[in-house]
Each structure stands twice: as C-alpha cells, then as structure tokens.
C-alpha cells in the first residue's frame, strides 16, 4: 500500500526528494522519532523501577475520582480524557484533508475543534493534578498505600507527575502550534502559498501527542 515509484527512476540522483515528501515533513518525522525515544525512555524507566519494587499502589484505588461525582469511579475520568484526545486527533485529520482540497473554511473549522479538544484535555489534566495534590500527592510525597496495604514509595507519584507533566507540556505546545496554524490560515498565508503542507506537519505533531497518551494512559492507569 506504500506509494509506488516508477522503476528506473534515480531516487538518490538529486533534484528531488527520494521519499517523495518535502524536507520539513521528513524532519518532523525524525523529530518525532527522537521524542518517541525520550518518552520511551521515561516509560521504560518507570517500568524498571516498578519491577524492582516490592509493592506498588493499585491505580484503580488511586485514580477513581470524577469532577462533581466524588470518588469511587475508577477509569471513568481517564476514559473521558482519552476520548477527548482521540476525537481531537480525528478533527486534526479532517483539517489536513480539508487542506488537501484547499478548503480554507474546513481547515479553520477543524483546527478550532482540535484546539478546543486540546484545551479540554489540559483542563482535565489540571483537575486531576489538583485533586491528587489535595490528597497529599506530589513530587516526593505519596499518601497512597500499596495494593497489599504496605507503605508505598514516593516513586509512584514522582513518576506519575513527571511523565504526565512532560506529556501535558507537549499537549500545551501542540495547542499553541495549532493556534498559530489557525491564525496563519485565517490570514490567508496558506491560500497564497497554494498548499496547506504546514497543517500536515502540525498534524503529525498532534497525532504524536495522542499516541504518547495512548501509551502513558495504558502504563499508569491500566497495567
């Protein structure tokens, strides 16, 4: 299903992209690779410490609150956050497709929806952090016991806040980038250029942010 390239065509002879993709897009992919290894290293170090520790809190007994509903609802709030991010990824795909059709209105509409989704996710994460802080959790402080009732390590909250913090920072920068993309679109920058490739690159970054959340949410809340 990969793109077909005519045989005999000198791919590496210069003058054209051997990957049939503009330079900026390839560089965005390679940046995302480096970021993937950064997050991979964080998550694997979390796994290593967890495997090296005798006891660990049960996430379903720690993360079980929902705004307005109190506690006793494991997985509910994080499900909402996950769906918000997935839907924002879908609206980003629609924005890119609108860009392919040079449909400025479509791009604007879907970028706005994506920005709202990203902001909603950040608001949810802020609520989760505030709630946990008020229960006594922070870097260096973990009030939750292990699943077997024994004293737990502060590594639990250290890793949680650090990794969700890094991810949240990426969401935040993604929202800023999308806002800049929106302003550029509204000002007709891409209309004049004749292509919306910049939106595609911003889209790659946004999908990466969603992808990292898929891994972070699984590692901290599910397994």
């Amino acid at each position: 299903m990969a793109q077909a390239v005519p045989t005999g065509q000198k791919l590496w002879g210069g003058g054209k992209s051997p990957f049939n993709v503009e330079y900026g897009k390839i560089m965005m992919w390679y940046f995302l690779m480096s970021d993937a290894f950064t997050f991979g290293a964080f998550l694997i170090s979390y796994g290593t410490i967890r495997f090296a520790t005798n006891g660990w809190p049960d996430p379903n007994h720690v993360f079980n609150s929902f705004p307005g509903l109190g506690s006793g609802f494991p997985l509910l709030f994080v499900s909402l956050m996950t769906f918000i991010l997935i839907i924002s990824s879908v609206t980003m795909v629609l924005a890119v497709h609108a860009g392919h059709r040079n449909d400025k209105k479509g791009v604007v509409k879907n970028l706005i929806l994506t920005i709202i989704g990203g902001a909603a996710f950040l608001a949810c994460q802020a609520w989760e952090w505030t709630h946990l802080y008020h229960e006594g959790a922070w870097w260096g402080s973990n009030p939750f016991p292990n699943a077997d009732g024994t004293q737990a390590t502060a590594n639990f909250s250290n890793f949680f806040f650090t990794i969700t913090g890094f991810h949240g920072f990426h969401v935040f920068s993604g929202v800023i980038i999308n806002i800049i993309m929106l302003i550029m679109t509204l000002n007709g920058v891409f209309e004049r250029r004749g292509h919306y490739l910049m939106i595609e690159k911003a889209g790659l970054y946004w999908h990466f942010v969603d992808l990292v959340w898929v891994f972070v949410f699984t590692c901290f809340y599910l397994i």
């Binding site: 793109q3 051997p18 520790t53 997985l75 499900s79 996950t82 006594g136 004293q151 590594n155 898929v214």
Partner: protein
C-alpha cells in the same frame, strides 16, 4: 463536471476511512477499559491470569498505535523507504523493554535474597491514615533519590 464528481468521491472515500479508523480506535479503547475494569471488579489475585490480561491490554495498545501512525499520520501511504526509516529503529524498543524490565526484576529478587531487612520492611502494613492528609509521610523516612 466529471472532475467535480471525482473530487467529491475522493472526499467521501477519505471521510469513510476516517470514520472507519475512528471506530476501530474507539472499540479497541473500550475493550481495554472493559478489561481494566474487570481486573478491578473481580479483584484478580496476582497470578498468570492477571498478567495475561495485562498482556492483552498491551497488544491492544500496540494495535491502536499502529492505526494512529499508519492512517492518521499517513505513514502507510508513504514511500516504502521512508516507512522503514521510521519503523526499523523502533525495533530497538523490543530489546530496550525486555532488558530493562528483566534487570529491574533481577534487582528486586537479588535484593530480597541478600537484604532480609529490606524484605521485612516491605511487608509492614501501613497505619490506615485519614484520606486527604496533606504531605503525609509514612513510617519510614524517605531518603531523596532512594530506590525504595
């Protein structure tokens, strides 16, 4: 007219694919959540079945990752060599994960074997404290940077 019809068909086809992939992602997420919730409700003891379910969740997660990268990020439709420059380095993760988790588990086992005090300490039950006690620390003083 023909061009318009063609363009319209393209837009429809891509929209259909977006809906299809979104549906797959939603279903996979719901299944993951159902398994997670079941593990909580059934209060499964530590054992093979619990680990098996966690393994299933990990497989579903990787499946979702494939859909996002291949379709949303469009990698499936790129030139084969570009796909390979992205996918091949990621195989490093297979070694990375196995080696580090194995090392972590080995550390735990060795420490429990040769440091009985550590093993005993980790079996002391906590005093049930009030929920919401701000800055509550446990019975053991936490040294900064301590592994436990």
């Amino acid at each position: 007219m023909a061009h318009n019809a063609g363009a319209h068909h393209d837009a429809d086809a891509t929209k259909k694919e977006v809906v299809r992939i979104t549906t797959y992602l939603t279903i996979l997420t719901l299944v993951e959540l159902a398994i997670g919730f079941y593990m909580y409700k059934a209060d499964l003891p530590e054992g093979f079945f619990r680990h098996f379910l966690k393994g299933v969740i990990v497989i579903l997660m990787l499946w979702k990752a494939f859909y996002i990268v291949a379709y949303f990020m469009h990698l499936k439709h790129e030139v084969k060599n570009l796909i390979m420059t992205i996918v091949v380095p990621l195989f490093l993760f297979i070694w990375f994960i196995i080696a580090f988790l194995y090392d972590g588990a080995s550390y735990k086992n060795l420490r429990n074997t040769y440091d009985p005090y550590h093993k005993e300490q980790s079996q002391i039950k906590m005093e049930p404290s009030e929920h919401g006690a701000h800055g509550a620390h446990g019975t053991e003083a936490q040294k900064e940077g301590a592994l436990d």
